[in-house]
Subunit: 390 residues, 2 copies
């Protein structure tokens, strides 16, 4: 049994506690596997096919395959064996290079290592490309290969959507750092110390790390008045002016021990046009309306449709979802999409964003995004993003 | 016809020249489609399924679907219509929201818009997940859906592997910026002005943008002596010491008008152990050996196997590939893997890295990586990364 080293990941749990946590999470999956008659389960976190479930189940934050077998054993296959030996918790750790860095070889290795019988049922990630699936079926004729929606990987997604106590504690910490940083950003911008998109974005990178964060959850989006009309500006930030007259959008997240916040501030500097004032008012009202609708048992699409209707009434349209779950990824379950196929229901323990926004090619854009924890007693707004008037 | 706006992408071509360039690239694909009897070709660059071919074929750098039809028409379906109207070149541009942000709806829209007949042959990306492929087949029974290795998307990869004159000109520019920055980094580190991993990485972000770069091609990896044993340290950079006694690795790339450089410097500060000196000597010799083997018509796996044999002779092993193509992505064709299934042959116009490296959990790591352009008259080393002794 390899156990995570606390130094390397910056974690403060003790090793035994961490081991127990990862084993507890895997235990839930072993039970599910046995119910489903599944012998072997494969996760893949590699370039172009990422899956933070590997980190959630073992603590290992980098490229690896992970195999779970219904007899309650786990095997991590990391690209970087030195890193894995310093910060992972799994029953076996075998370097990916032992398998020529080929998934099929690693699957065969796991079958051999666990002594699985012929015809064993193996579930692979539902994002496996079709041509690769065909290759697996051809090469691994000794297995019954399952690749589906609604399977084990979605089950992990559902489990991850409800944060446990350790995760909620981390969310309180990362939200605190994020709030501190937003206050500092407001101060620096009011004092004229941060003038460009680039200065603003790099200030966040530096200050986040000073607070012990791993980094940012996605490339910080800093769009001054000339570029805030884009939902996600391209490039993410430039040498252009930030927080000058008009509307500027700042969308960022800090990552603490794996978990990312995700907030958006709008800076509105005088003089503003009537149309810009209207965007601000509509977004603030939509945000409050959405927050008022958050409750246990509520379908997320209903909230999203309400906000859509509100904007439609004002002859506006929001070109993106109302929000999304956050965790080890910036976008995870639950979805808060305004789509008929969205069947997510809010439950205590979910942590998600609400982020109404409107964008106009001439007026610029306005978005307000905060992170919400749904508790037994209702929604708790973890972060303190706001529309800041300058 | 929508034409790219030069301000927004920072491009310096004039609009007519840009239009001609993207049309020329699409023209090559239309020919290929006609040879293959393909009516419709779909590219997808969205969250979790990226494909810079969309940018290569239209100039549009953000999330979108792209459809090409063999009758030589293109249709871009961007997530952000405002951004697309400001910087893309396609015959039609229709917002993704018109299709409820659902690929199947967009495919139906393209079929309708182009007036394709029943049974038209449609090729979708080879990374399409198996369950999604099944959904397409069920929902789009009016089409003959192709999803394969060795198809249109790989053809684009092969075309992109040979850079055209405009791309080579951009590579000379981004390499120049990268070389300037490496000299500046060496100076700042020698003068004790950059002391931590974080200062070093954020210096690159800031200085790159001052030179007009979009950003960095991947998260800068700065590993001081305590962490350089990892191929890719995690987190990418921290507040820890950089370039202190022992071996430190700095791996970064600047992106200029879409194209990324990719270099790795090792900083070796006295006192060094004999084992550390040996790592340096071996890596420098492996790098020179690899460069000497680069020639038109040469199989890349032969070079990689030679380097492997050299390291094996010294009782060492490199846990990663010898190099990879670079371009709109940090990792693209050609592969320079030490794997029997690697059948890439070097051709003039290819731009790729050579990056031998060795890693030891006690001594730390050493890697040297430069970007090479293969010209008609042989390899040209574009960048000037080196092992810097302090």
């Amino acid at each position: 049994m390899f156990v995570m080293d606390l130094q390397k990941t910056g974690a403060k749990y003790d090793a035994a506690e961490a081991t127990a946590m990862y084993e507890y999470r895997r235990e839930k999956l072993y039970r599910w596997m046995n119910e489903e008659g599944l012998s072997l389960l494969m996760f893949q976190h590699t370039e172009g096919q990422t899956d933070p479930a590997v980190r959630w189940l073992t603590g290992y934050p980098a490229d690896a395959l992970l195999f779970l077998v219904s007899e309650k054993k786990s095997m991590l296959v990391p690209w970087d064996i030195h890193l894995a030996l310093s910060c992972s918790c799994a029953d076996e750790v075998t370097p990916y290079t032992d398998f020529e860095r080929q998934p099929i070889n690693a699957i065969r290795g796991a079958i051999r290592s666990f002594g699985l019988p012929l015809g064993a049922k193996l579930e692979i990630p539902p994002v496996t490309p079709y041509p690769q699936f065909l290759q697996y079926v051809e090469s691994l004729s000794e297995c019954d290969i399952v690749c589906r929606t609604g399977g084990a990987h979605e089950e992990v997604g559902r489990l991850r959507a409800i944060k446990d106590d350790a995760e909620i504690a981390l969310y309180r910490q990362v939200s605190g750092f994020t709030n501190e940083l937003m206050d500092l950003l407001e101060k620096q911008i009011r004092e004229g110390k941060l003038k460009t998109e680039s200065e603003t974005a790099l200030f966040i990178e530096a200050e986040g790390r000073k607070r012990g964060c791993e980094g940012t959850g996605f490339e910080t989006l800093a769009a001054g008045p000339a570029r805030s009309f884009g939902i996600h500006p391209f490039p993410a930030y430039t040498l252009g002016e930030f927080a000058g007259p008009g509307l500027s959008i700042l969308d960022f997240g800090l990552v603490y021990k794996g978990y990312t916040s995700d907030v958006t501030l709008t800076f509105a500097r005088e003089p503003l046009t009537k149309a810009q004032e209207k965007l601000i008012t509509l977004v603030e009202r939509a945000y409050r309306m959405a927050l008022d609708l958050v409750r246990t048992g509520g379908p997320t699409k209903d909230i999203a449709f309400e906000v859509d209707a509100f904007f439609r009434h004002a002859k506006k349209a929001m070109p993106h979802a109302l929000g999304h779950g956050i965790g080890l990824e910036a976008h995870e379950f639950p979805a808060l999409r305004n789509r008929s196929d969205n069947d997510w229901i809010l439950q205590p323990g979910m942590v998600f964003t609400l982020e109404p926004g409107l964008y106009d090619p001439r007026q610029g854009g306005c978005r307000l995004e905060n992170d919400i924890l749904l508790t037994e007693s209702g929604p708790e707004t973890l972060t303190n993003a706001r529309i800041i008037r300058l």
